[in-house]
């Protein structure tokens, strides 16, 4: 019997280790031959720990399982049980998705290369090895893939720039410094299907002529780092990495590096400085990293999700990927639904689903049962959207047009108990804590911003124009997105929820 209990950090955080131990112990007591597979998470976090059993009809699921449930599950022969959810693939939250990047996450043993291959892994890399660098770049350009880290820059164009640059050494750097609140797709992918990321990076290296790569991950992700590190070792032993990638004669060496708690290192130039062993301070652009990146050499810097989308694009063709989505937002986006929601987790779908569908239909509204007040989209630098924005289709253009951003596609839902002035203050406080200090609008602006919000809170309405003016300065004058986008949550809170900025003054009057 094959039983799956996820090793994903979110599953562990709600007791998966104890469930796995209980399954092993129960199987041993009963003398049953059980193969326990520690898979990634299916992304239905409210059902974690989600236990699955392989049957001739497909995998069936039980959740959320506690260790105390385990003996009864064995007694029932993994049939009728109050926690039974039926076939995993038929659970509506999963069934409604289009999983391209996350096709294998939660399905396979993340550290089994044979299983990876059996589920379509390595097909993209094998295809890439038959193509010229220009043809690989062309395929990625045709897919319409854009930077999933948040900037939305066309991946194919970035690769073309690096390919065209002359240098003895080029690099591929994966930005896995997923610091945005409400986002966990990078973590889930690294824990659930790390070979996909390795394959995507190897394809990028072939496309641009790079022979070395780095994954820059976070110290806050010990579980992901452990899996990723093991996957690199396995891939190297199997010849997927190293001096002779899959026997092609092409070299690609990959290293995992861990950050040290600095949010700003998710910004690509700060990340490069950090990789070089320096303070994670932002660099002025130009020069762009594609021409002068790591150690001054041409460097592809892509997010985990961008690179992980590449194997499927090569395997199935750019056109197949571009068939999903709307407008200039092509392909699928792994949405991360978090905060105060009934059904939180990862939902991969084509661009174009509306914000209201995500929050009401997919996430099932708030966990508290109270009305939704605001949804922050795109991490701590993303705007707060009121219910009035629920018709917005999820795309780069639509969100930019509404004074917001898609970011890394995390959505944090707040119910009506949230105080938006406090959230605006928090955004500025966070910016002040995490600012790298290189540019004045961010370093000083964030600190002054907190003071100005406190003045507003104390009833000084005259401080409101000062806050909007300060935000304008930060937006236009900052070197990177930290200072430049912190005004999004602040101004959207002020614009959409003015009552929260006036309460004390009105109370005083």
């Amino acid at each position: 019997m094959r039983i799956y209990v996820p090793r994903d950090a979110a599953a562990k955080a709600v007791g998966a280790e104890a469930v796995a131990a209980a399954v092993s112990a129960e199987a041993a007591t009963r003398g049953l031959p059980v193969e326990l597979v520690r898979n990634g998470s299916r992304g239905m976090v409210w059902l974690e720990p989600l236990l699955e059993v392989e049957t001739p009809e497909g995998r069936i699921a039980f959740g959320p399982v506690t260790p105390a449930d385990v003996p009864a599950l064995f007694d029932a022969g993994f049939g009728a049980h109050p926690k039974a959810l039926g076939l995993t693939a038929e659970i509506p939250f999963l069934k409604k998705q289009t999983r391209l990047t996350f096709a294998r996450v939660g399905v396979i043993d993340p550290l089994s290369l044979p299983e990876y291959e059996a589920h379509g892994g390595l097909a993209g890399l094998r295809k890439a090895l038959t193509l010229s660098p220009e043809a690989i770049v062309e395929e990625v350009t045709a897919s319409g893939l854009r930077g999933r880290g948040g900037a939305g820059f066309p991946t194919g164009i970035k690769w073309k720039t690096v390919l065209g640059a002359e240098a003895a050494q080029k690099y591929v750097v994966c930005n896995a410094d997923e610091g945005d609140s409400g986002t966990f797709a990078d973590r889930m992918l690294m824990e659930g299907d790390p070979f996909t990321l390795i394959e995507g990076m190897a394809i990028a290296a072939l496309a641009v002529g790079a022979t070395r790569g780095f994954i820059y991950s976070r110290s806050e992700y010990p579980d992901a780092n452990a899996v990723m590190g093991q996957a690199i070792t396995i891939a190297r032993a199997a010849g997927m990495l190293g001096p002779d990638v899959l026997g092609s004669g092409r070299a690609f060496e990959l290293e995992l590096r861990i950050g040290a708690g600095a949010y700003v290192c998710g910004e690509e130039t700060a990340l490069l400085n950090s990789l070089e062993g320096k303070r994670g301070v932002v660099r002025a652009k130009p020069p762009i990293p594609a021409l002068q990146g790591l150690f001054g050499q041409p460097t592809v810097v892509n997010n985990v999700l961008s690179l992980a989308a590449v194997p499927a694009i090569l395997a199935e063709g750019g056109a197949a990927y571009a068939a999903h989505g709307i407008g200039r937002s092509r392909g699928t986006i792994p949405l991360q639904i978090a905060g105060n929601v009934r059904f939180g987790g990862l939902f991969e779908t084509g661009f174009g689903i509306t914000l209201g569908e995500i929050v009401n239909d997919i996430a099932g509204g708030t966990a508290s049962g109270r009305p939704v007040k605001a949804v922050q989209v795109g991490g701590p630098l993303g705007a707060y959207h009121p219910q009035a924005d629920f018709a917005l289709p999820f795309s780069y253009e639509d969100f930019a047009g509404s004074g917001g951003l898609v970011g890394h596609a995390g959505l944090v839902v707040h119910d009506d108990s949230v105080d938006m002035l406090r959230m605006a203050r928090f955004a500025l406080e966070f910016c002040a804590i995490e600012s790298c200090g290189k540019c004045t609008p961010c370093r000083i602006g964030a600190v002054r911003g907190v003071e100005v919000v406190d003045r507003i809170a104390a009833g000084d309405a005259a401080a409101i124009p000062l806050l909007t003016d300060l935000c304008q300065t930060m937006k236009l004058g900052s070197l990177c997105a930290l200072g430049g986008f912190t005004p999004y949550p602040v101004l959207s809170a002020l614009t959409h929820f003015p009552d929260d900025f006036a309460t004390l003054k009105e109370a005083a009057e």
Binding site: A10, A13, E178, S181, E220, A260, G261
Partner: protein
């Protein structure tokens, strides 16, 4: 430089002041540069922490599920503020901005072990187990 600092901290629990000149010399950088790098990153400490370190997430998704109240309860239970260590040296309380556990918020991490949906009762359990 970061792998070295991580390794030193893993060994000693912090980065001792006497380590920096040695690191600087080995890397052929100035002591000021070494100090600058170390002090830039939140993770590196210049003095030892308690026997256990509890990190509570302060980011938005956890706030939406009551992490502010949880943090206040933690501070009251332990009698320390952020970055403080209980007088018996058992537990250090630290803020963290996102553990990637945003769909099972509020989240915390005890010595590298992730914990989701933390409430006051669970917090008390954690603190007691840690000897604080």
């Amino acid at each position: 430089m970061l792998p070295i600092l991580h390794a030193v901290q893993a060994e000693y629990g912090h980065v001792p002041a006497e380590a920096l000149p040695q690191i600087a010399e080995a890397l052929n950088i100035s002591r000021a540069e070494a100090q600058g790098v170390m002090s830039f990153y939140h993770d590196f400490r210049d003095h030892p922490a308690g026997r256990h370190v509890l990190k509570i997430c302060r980011a938005e998704a956890c706030q939406a599920m009551g992490s502010e109240a949880l943090a206040a309860a933690a501070k009251a239970r332990l009698g320390v503020d952020w970055h403080g260590t209980t007088p018996n040296g058992a537990l250090t309380l630290e803020p963290v901005f996102c553990l990637g556990l945003c769909a099972c918020a509020p989240a915390a991490m005890l010595d590298g072990q992730v914990i989701g949906r933390v409430d006051a009762a669970r917090l008390d359990e954690i603190a007691t187990e840690a000897g604080a």
